[in-house]
Each structure stands twice: as structure tokens, then as C-alpha cells.
């Protein structure tokens, strides 16, 4: 097989693409390609990975313009004309090459009040939450989010609105709003309301399309819009 022609982003936000040639292998993933380049061509290439089997989300990058997990992206599925272009995730500051600064992603998680608040203590025993309850079924998929940042990278509104909390943070807020054990519903609804919150979502569905775990942050955000409007009209927030 002909060598793969690879372009990889080097530098920070300022920088450029560097060309490499990588021998093709059967069932080769984009992460395999990046690893090959770092080991055999240029040891100064910076990139993140961990599990390399599609469970941790660390290897998320932009491949041929699409945000995805590189360990779960087969080269033969994405290489057009034997070429692959690899860049860091969008919408995040670039530390070096393919490594982004994830702090704003998690700061927004906190701003959306994406943390659980409860009042039960150890002595109170387990909370009984039926898996068939409507709240629990609503968040069946959403609770599986591992914070990989692909949705945040894919979202156009994140690109256009620096304050927008983003799909992952809002998805997390949605799962907590529907957690019957949680006691911070009002504060959380207030946290996700307004121009920087759920109302900024234009329902483009980029996040839902790109989520490697098949979640739909868009659905959760739609739920938040309803919940926030109801709470605003009733005076709850």
C-alpha cells in the first residue's frame, strides 16, 4: 500500500500544518498514525491519549475537519485520496500541537452547577430511584458522559459565543435536574438560564451527531429550555 500522507498541526493557535508520510497498516487508526509520527518521525510532537480502546476520551482531536476520538477512527474510513489532516480540538486554547487546554471546558461545567448536591447521610440508607421512573429514563444516555470535549469542539455556538456553557456542561446539568436525590434544582436552573446558558443553543445538533457515546446533549438542552421557562414564569427562579 502507498504511504499515507498526513498533515499534523504544529504550534499553538499560531503555527501550521507539517507533512509526514506514514506506512499504512490494516485496521490502522488515526491514533496509530499519530503515535507512529511521534515515535519514528518527530519526537517533539505533543498529543494526548490513554486507554487507546475507546473508553476514556483523551485522544479526541479534529480529523479531516471532524471532531472525533482518534483511537476509534479507522484511517480507511476517513482518508480521502490517501490523505489525513489532524488538528487539535476546536474552540479550546492550544497548549502545543494536538494538546488543548481543557480548563474552560471544566470551568463551564462548574458554572452550570454540574455537581451533585444532596442532604442524605450515610445513616439514611440508599435512595430508592426506580430505573423505570420518567426522570431516570430521560437521563439514561446523558449520565454516560465522560467529558471528552468532542461536543464542545463540534459546537458552532461555542465558537460564536465565548460565554456559552456548551453541550457537555448543559447535558450534565440536565442529568442533575432529573436526579431526584439532588437538592440544588433552583440554583442549577438559574445557572443554565439566559444568553450564556441553554437558551443560546440553536439546535444545530452538531453535538448529538459527533458524540462518541451516542448521547444527545441537544435533547437535554431542549429539556432545560422547557424547565427554565416554566420556572421563570412561575417565579421559582
Amino acid at each position: 500500500m502507498e504511504n499515507l500522507k498526513v498533515r499534523i498541526w504544529r504550534g499553538t493557535e499560531e503555527g501550521g500544518f507539517q507533512d509526514f508520510e506514514v506506512p499504512r497498516q490494516e485496521s490502522q487508526t488515526v491514533l496509530d498514525v499519530v503515535t507512529y509520527v511521534q515515535r519514528k518521525c518527530d519526537p517533539t510532537l505533543a498529543y494526548r491519549f490513554a486507554c487507546r480502546v475507546g473508553v476514556c476520551g483523551s485522544c479526541a482531536m479534529t480529523v479531516n475537519g471532524v471532531s472525533r476520538w482518534t483511537c476509534r477512527t479507522h484511517v480507511d474510513k476517513v482518508a480521502e485520496d490517501n490523505r489525513v489532516e489532524i488538528a487539535p480540538l476546536r474552540n479550546l486554547p492550544v497548549i502545543k500541537d494536538l494538546v488543548t487546554d481543557m480548563r474552560e471546558f471544566f470551568d463551564k461545567w462548574a458554572k452550570a452547577r454540574g455537581r451533585f448536591s444532596g442532604t442524605q447521610m450515610r445513616k439514611d440508607g440508599f435512595a430508592k430511584v426506580s430505573p423505570e421512573s420518567k426522570e431516570r429514563k430521560r437521563i439514561e444516555a446523558g449520565i454516560e458522559c465522560i467529558g471528552c470535549g468532542v461536543c464542545y469542539s463540534a459546537c458552532d455556538v461555542v465558537t460564536w459565543n465565548k460565554d456559552y456553557l456548551g453541550p457537555a456542561a448543559l447535558n450534565r446539568a440536565w442529568t442533575l435536574i432529573n436526579d431526584v436525590r439532588d437538592t440544588a434544582r433552583v440554583e442549577r436552573l438559574a445557572a443554565v438560564a439566559g444568553d450564556a446558558g441553554c437558551h443560546a443553543c440553536h439546535t444545530h445538533l452538531n453535538c448529538t451527531e459527533r458524540c462518541p457515546k451516542g448521547l444527545s446533549p441537544t435533547a437535554g438542552i431542549a429539556g432545560l429550555k422547557r424547565a427554565v421557562l416554566a420556572a421563570t414564569l412561575s417565579g421559582e427562579i
Binding site: N161, T232, I237
Partner: protein, 117 residues
């Protein structure tokens, strides 16, 4: 702008969008009908002059536009440029008022009639 106001503006955007979906459909169908009947000022005015139903319909249309457009513009301006804040709010508010004034002028114009083409 307070969070509460932002939420209520979003709600108003959604509601006027529903109203506009209806109004635009009726308007489009009417336009197609008017074109097919031979488009002329006389034909149109024959329908609208003195007709309280059309007057009410187009008043609703104009008011829905005057609410929907500024809210949408505010968001789009904020996303496509870095312009946000009081100044932009006042600008789009003025555009909304302008749309209402000129829109109602037109609605009243085709309703009130007689005396020259």
C-alpha cells in the same frame, strides 16, 4: 440585562415564531392567489380596503415581526461580531419600533381607502 429578561425574550421569540409560521403561510398562499388573479393594486386593495379581517391579520403579523426580528438580530449580531450590551439592545429595540411603525403604516394604508389609487 437580567437573566429573567433573557429567558422571557427567548420565550417571546418562540411564541412569535409560532405566530409567524401561521402568518407567513397565509401570506404566501394569498400572494400566490393574488398573482394568479392578475396582480394589480386594484385587485389587492379590493381585498384589503375596509376589511377588518385582513386588517387584524396584518396587524398581528406586523407586531409579531416587530418582536421577533429584534430579538433574533440581537443574537445574530452578538454571535457574528463582538458587539454586545446596552448599545446593541437599544439599536435592535429601535429597529423593532421602526418595523412596528412602518409596518402599521402599511397596514393602515391598505385598509383605509378611497380617494385615488
Amino acid at each position: 440585562m437580567s437573566r429573567r429578561t433573557e429567558v422571557l425574550l427567548w420565550g417571546a421569540q418562540r411564541i412569535t415564531a409560532m405566530v409567524l409560521a401561521l402568518c407567513v403561510t397565509v401570506h404566501l398562499v394569498t400572494m400566490i392567489y393574488a398573482v394568479r388573479s392578475g396582480l394589480s393594486a386594484a385587485e389587492i386593495l379590493g381585498r384589503t380596503q375596509g376589511n377588518i379581517g385582513w386588517f387584524a391579520f396584518y396587524t398581528l403579523f406586523v407586531l409579531a415581526v416587530a418582536i421577533h426580528a429584534p430579538i433574533g438580530l440581537r443574537t445574530i449580531i452578538g454571535e457574528m461580531t463582538d458587539a454586545r450590551g446596552r448599545g446593541i439592545d437599544l439599536l435592535v429595540g429601535a429597529i423593532g419600533i421602526g418595523l412596528a411603525v412602518f409596518g402599521m403604516r402599511a397596514v393602515i394604508g391598505v385598509f383605509s381607502g378611497g380617494g385615488g389609487a
